[in-house]
Subunit: 286 residues, 4 copies
Amino acid sequence: METTSNSTDSFDRIQDGDNIYIIFDPKRKWLVTVKSGKQFHSHKGFFNYDDIIGKKFGTIVLTNKSTKLAILRPIPIDYLRQISHSSQIIYEKDAGAILLYGGIFPGAKVIETGTGSGALTAIIANFVKPHGQVYTYENRENAYLTASKNIALLGLNEYVSLKNKDALEGYDESDVDSVVLDLGDPCLLIEQAYIALKPSGVMSIFVPTYNQVERVYHELLKYPFIEIKAIELIEREIQLKDNAIRPKTWMMVGHTGFLIFARKLQTDKESVKHSQKEEIGENESS
Amino acid sequence: METTSNSTDSFDRIQDGDNIYIIFDPKRKWLVTVKSGKQFHSHKGFFNYDDIIGKKFGTIVLTNKSTKLAILRPIPIDYLRQISHSSQIIYEKDAGAILLYGGIFPGAKVIETGTGSGALTAIIANFVKPHGQVYTYENRENAYLTASKNIALLGLNEYVSLKNKDALEGYDESDVDSVVLDLGDPCLLIEQAYIALKPSGVMSIFVPTYNQVERVYHELLKYPFIEIKAIELIEREIQLKDNAIRPKTWMMVGHTGFLIFARKLQTDKESVKHSQKEEIGENESS
Amino acid sequence: METTSNSTDSFDRIQDGDNIYIIFDPKRKWLVTVKSGKQFHSHKGFFNYDDIIGKKFGTIVLTNKSTKLAILRPIPIDYLRQISHSSQIIYEKDAGAILLYGGIFPGAKVIETGTGSGALTAIIANFVKPHGQVYTYENRENAYLTASKNIALLGLNEYVSLKNKDALEGYDESDVDSVVLDLGDPCLLIEQAYIALKPSGVMSIFVPTYNQVERVYHELLKYPFIEIKAIELIEREIQLKDNAIRPKTWMMVGHTGFLIFARKLQTDKESVKHSQKEEIGENESS
Amino acid sequence: METTSNSTDSFDRIQDGDNIYIIFDPKRKWLVTVKSGKQFHSHKGFFNYDDIIGKKFGTIVLTNKSTKLAILRPIPIDYLRQISHSSQIIYEKDAGAILLYGGIFPGAKVIETGTGSGALTAIIANFVKPHGQVYTYENRENAYLTASKNIALLGLNEYVSLKNKDALEGYDESDVDSVVLDLGDPCLLIEQAYIALKPSGVMSIFVPTYNQVERVYHELLKYPFIEIKAIELIEREIQLKDNAIRPKTWMMVGHTGFLIFARKLQTDKESVKHSQKEEIGENESS
């Protein structure tokens, strides 16, 4: 049998400084950093981090109260759930669509505005690494500081350039592969996003209301974009219970927002606006 | 202004052998490979590939009939739409969820069964490269040959190990980060998937019916999995039309399937089954 | 055993002039009127109406080609599906919500604008009879004639006052229990609808786009309405198939429209507008 | 102008013994009975019922604390929301579908099992009156007593026959137009429901899980039913707020249940089962 990860064996074992995801049950989970010589404490008891250092991720540890805790290696999605909710949240389903529709790939250069708590930043950073970079702008100092802490905690400093700066003053980067806008009034940044994108690059915009969908759409039409598309994703969790499979009765999140995507054409504005209306990129409706 | 991609400038220009995405309008698009000395033909006229070689992606080309065609660099999602529909299709929304919930990341080792047309294979390969690998199993020779052609066409051979082999005979790999099952009866492969996964690794299973959700759930309970979760994603496209913003009237895809996720615990089976029922990983319902 | 319908036994037997619903399979169904001395013809063969007169609804008849056809008594929903699609259609799910949220009941006086093909008219008429009445306005002569034919065919003339008249010129009725608006620009009729409603009466408005939801909402705020509410209903048909229960893969109708409801307060406009904003009927959002 | 309701003018004025719906704001509403000589009390103050007797529904009354309360005539839907939640609830959207797909009409004879709190009973009674009747079975004495109280409170005694009796012992009625099953195990009652229905009558079954959808479907196939259909309705409330129209962020009800409908054929069982499989009523899936 071919072992696919011999070279990364140490990666599979818990080390001092690793982030770990501790699970007691579906409602009690903690994302923490292993600190040799210290302890993890909860109302379920405590254990010494040294007891798990060197063990494989996926192990189970007993607390002093004989409570069993599972130790998992966090995947990016876990960050989303644990990062402090200091700002509007992009949900997993929406983050997944941004990865796919938004032209994100390992090695990509991505601009994000605003950073918020850094949750989406962390997701994207995990998918552009090791050679890509997320340039993320946040003009509110509080959010900037929270995001800085979160990105550092997650060990993503290398892949994230976090800027406490108003994107309205212009982006520092150009020729990026993807721009992601998730802020109060994305219309104000569409021109700058168009300029910063490389031709054929993709813009993703998250907005909560229909009014914003309409305004963003009208703003996008002013520039040579193509493949303009808007979607909404609805996630239903399915109850897994013996002889009682069904959508969960209580779905707490009824609506997060709409996602709008567009791709940049490399052309002078006038010629494209003309072509767009007549021949290319008509957004036909059913 | 910091130019983020000086070193990749040639990457931004169309070259012989590149895949390009040609767009006439939302319903007429083609994913083709640039061949110096040859022509692209459609009912909208033709153009010489040499006319676009050296231009930037995002350009517009005129056919001999003066039709304007946009030339984009394809993003992975475009592959999904263009790959031949020879097999059950994983949809974009579902692929996005598999990336996020399924523990995929750049550098990951991923087993997929079955390959089908290679559409999901291509998506995943694009997100594990450059250092990761997708090991994909397909026992039907026709599908295998189609997928081989598709993966080669997309230039992903380096990141994909495509096997015309029945996964029931066992996986060749071990200690993989993620296993994705999308085949008729995934229950048959759950034990082997458990074995092949590294501890803390994630399994993603796509099934179209509720009966399969139930069977998969019961099969998963036989092994030390945690964080078992099932979801359904519903995608609604929003009509972008002046003064008439609304969900599109005709949504062709009413249901694709359900996604089930689970993470492997590293423990002897008995101890975990015990702990799972009593304390860890209860899948509580609302 | 108590027989609940002795007195209506003849009602249970097929008579000359009855509407019947003939079913061959889920895709081939016909809503026709029994005509003694004549025949029903289809590509599945023919039968004489006299062969079924006197039989109970629910019987099965053989055509000359030995094809079995089921003969059902139509329920209102069947009319909706069979009435010619000459105009925007209100769907079953939306009609059901209008009955419940729209203040319809046996004996109710209801104004409807516009009539369209008469499909919703027929549904409502079936639920206000025998003592209620639907006053329905249609200014397009073609639609008026189609609806007249449909209402007569369904034997509902007694419960429907169909008017080929522009509702903008004012309603002939006052103190009605319910007003249902389903036309291009419902905002134009909200004042007249307010006037025609009895205090505590309910208005139901069907609109396809979000832009209209917003305009209708703003128009409603100009009058003393309370309990203003907007909903969208999404209907998923479930595939019933052995061991393959799931939402149907192809859901043809992705969106029909939004329903807005409001109830009339009996008060002078100024006092209510004041109270509405400060204390009553605030449409709080989550 | 034609006044449609001269004869019912007294019906429009509030009288002693009427049920009224008192609204302070969207979250504080009360369904109560007017009692001459008594007072309505809430934390917003009190008023004397005699102050509103003789006024039109839709009026506004001031409490001793100068709070404005709107007085509406309740529509059936209001009962649903106010009736005590002592049992599984059928939601408005589902009740609307049962009215339309379930063959309910003014004058209909309907059997319901179980009664629960009487909420659906009340809805149906309101749509079969004045000449129809709901025969409703409830074997749990507590629920029976609650429902009796609710039905009496709503003034529906004349249209409801409420029975504290186990339907498994057989229905007292025959030749009914419609049977509605909403209880733990509807499969146990399908044969009796088939017997009680008149030919061409309709059965409606509400079940919360997919497992039950499958079991009910298999049970229905044992009898000569046609037009078997299952649906799920999803209701999204739309936030009505200036410049912020969108689906509400928090949708509390993610899933109520599935509705299954079937119509009775009048034939001996064997002949129909045969025809159903070969020619009639195949439930084709997409």
